[in-house]
Symmetry: C2
Subunit: 420 residues, 2 copies
């Protein structure tokens, strides 16, 4: 009996309804499959049910393609391996096409929510010319203009090397991590909070743009006016939670637009003469979320499910299953449970302090990022592309059963990353 | 020694240069790898070299992912199998995601030039809710408005069945096959031929739109004004050959735009109440062109290359290699050569009658289309999706070595298409 939903179990009436229905169903255990929010929910529900004397045990398993539910106990979330390998298949194919057609720059945006784990893993698997890592951009306070300059620099240097083609990866979460975009969004939110009704009553974008620009600080006004019109409009929208619908920002198109402008400017000044910039944008997301699971994910899910049942039979509740030693052969894996409370932090959510499992962002001191950072200058100019090909199920272990590069590097098996 | 290029060998000086260089290289044979144009070129070059007493033999092999080089002698072009299977992997994944998320309509445009072979093959492999076939739309004289109505009809019927999600495939060549778009483009070309300079001197799109609309027939003016602004602009551009850059028309976005409008209109009239239309657009092209070859394509290319060498050793020239019985196990394949001249038709190219190999479009009387047409009504409403998964190299023959559904149906092995 597997069902799917995006509803949260948070309010007292939700909890009471669970208690009632579980009793009616005479339910021994419930396995909650999900990421940080779902596992947090599992803990809240487990605590409530215990206090009410319910026999129903709640066990969570870590699931998200974004790879952002991991910590000292949980080595990985399932789905990340399959999604990253599916995207890497496609990126590798495009790398080869770029090298064969020798005329396109491919800007590829990758799903993965806030964290850059997916983009970083794909970079380790395919060795593209550029991969932006949101966490690094935030840590350094890099501005949008500086990001564009960095991209243009690689494009110009490759053109001078006779290579008017390349591959750039960008994580979908990027915009919120860019310092001046973040400031701009905060200023826009404050302005919209005060005057949204008036602004939206203005007849067209030119009027909205003019009015809003006048209220922004000079720095933000300059950033706002540098953006393409469709993105200026998106930034004036708010979803039902009051957030900018940033997933509607097609960052690959934004970067293509800004990079094109910058190259035009350079050419007008007699520079970048060898550059012939023909960009193509891509977004890979949905095609990696429901793929057939890789052997790794299939083995991992089998283990998670088995362990969840064992924990329930042992009358444990409020645990997330952990399966460890994942870079070893699956017969060396060990399974256990981690109390969800061990993983909780207090964060502000909707104005109140709430216990949540912290989302894991890319650790700039971690081995995956350090490996990437140590090699990216070489990858930028040389064509060090790797072509992982499609996920295989039947062949040699080295082809079919390898864990992600991220996991291998994090757990010390760094040798698995081949050079060119 | 493999090289790639898009240059044609057409003019007397090109031919003379070939003669000279082949002599310098003491070349026994040249294998031309390509589609209709390249193989036509091979024949022209072969004839010229023979007449000049050159010993260099020219042999062509059929290569194109578009699948449009096939005829009584040539069963398939290599690349089609791999590309269609790669796209079908992704489409299948998206079908499953659609069925799981139950909230998105995915409009997927597929590479393949003018012909709809790729889209049709992907439809046979994945059984989506809708697949547009350009050749049928042309044969029936279907208008853009009628296409949109047909799509909306399926969306409404699925919504009434509780399914506000679905999959639509559209071949990239579609726009030229829609009768009123074709008429519009012809009228625009005539207008631009007379007044391009003046039109382009107008300050903004609104002025260009107003001026051009006044010169169109009422029917075309109505179609033109129904298009999104960015596509109106694309249709005013001409490439260096004087053609509209139709590949810049993101047909999936055009259809999303027009379908959204129509649904809004229906709702304003109190209809389509159950429809909640959340569309997502995709384009699959580059990621299928340079994939690792499927076992079928690898075997096929090995056979083509071997046969090309044998033909050259037999001192034959101006032939395209044919390998037949491709739906049988590869040890039953037979290899031979077809004189390119047997495949030539005279067509107008750049104002002069030129011998060319006719591009094969989807045959509406052929088994692949008939199979599709017989099942599409069922696929539209029921979720008959198939999930082919990634190309496999090591597993059972049924999984790894199957030819395309198109080839199987064309050669009479229709049983290979499974139902739901």
């Amino acid at each position: 009996m597997i069902m799917s939903g995006r509803d949260k179990i948070e309010e007292p009436e939700h909890l009471a309804a669970c208690l009632l229905h579980f009793k009616e169903m005479n339910l021994d255990g419930l396995v909650v499959v999900g990421g940080d929010d779902s596992n947090t929910n599992a803990a809240v529900l487990a605590e409530y049910l215990s206090a009410q004397g319910s026999k129903t045990r709640i066990i969570g398993v870590p699931k998200t393609i974004d790879g952002d539910m991991k910590n000292g106990q949980i080595e990985a979330s399932f789905g990340f391996d399959t999604a990253a390998k599916t995207y890497s298949e496609l990126i590798g194919n495009i790398c080869r096409d770029a090298q064969s057609a020798v005329k396109y720059w491919h800007f590829i945006r990758l799903m993965g929510r806030a964290a850059s784990h997916v983009a970083l893993e794909c970079a380790l698997q395919t060795q593209p010319n550029i991969c932006l890592v949101s966490e690094e951009i935030q840590a350094k306070g890099t501005t949008l203009d500086e990001i564009v300059d960095g991209i243009v620099d690689v494009i110009v240097r490759r053109a001078e090397d006779g290579k008017n083609y390349g591959i750039l990866l960008v994580p979908e979460g990027l915009p919120e991590f860019i310092s001046d975009i973040k400031t701009l969004i905060e200023e826009l939110s404050a302005i919209l909070g005060r005057e949204e009704k008036y602004i939206m009553s203005l007849g067209n974008h030119a009027e909205r743009f003019q009015y809003v620009s006048g209220l922004l600080t000079p720095a933000s006004s300059r950033v706002y006016s540098s953006l393409p019109v469709d993105i200026q409009e998106v930034l004036l929208q708010r979803d039902k939670h009051g957030n900018v619908p940033l997933s509607q920002v097609e960052t690959e198109r934004l970067l293509i637009d800004l990079v094109s402008d910058k190259i035009r400017l350079l050419k007008a000044h007699g520079k970048a003469k060898k550059v012939k910039f023909s960009p193509l944008g891509h977004f890979f997301g949905y095609e990696g979320r429901c793929a057939y699971p890789s052997n790794f994910d299939a083995d991992y899910c089998y283990s998670l499910g088995y362990a969840a049942a064992v924990l329930i039979r042992a009358a444990l509740t409020g645990y997330t299953v952990n399966v460890q030693h994942l870079i070893e052969s699956s017969d060396e894996w060990t399974a256990g449970g981690t109390p969800v409370t061990m993983m909780l932090n207090m964060e502000m959510r909707k104005g109140r302090l709430t216990p949540v499992i912290k989302k894991a962002l890319v650790d700039l001191e971690g081995a995956p990022f350090r490996y990437f950072a140590a090699h990216r200058d070489e990858w930028a100019i040389s064509d060090a592309y790797l072509f992982p090909g499609p996920i295989q199920y039947y062949g040699p272990t080295a082809v079919c059963d390898a864990p992600t590069k991220t996991l291998a590097l994090e757990k010390g098996a760094g040798k698995c990353c081949r050079g060119k």
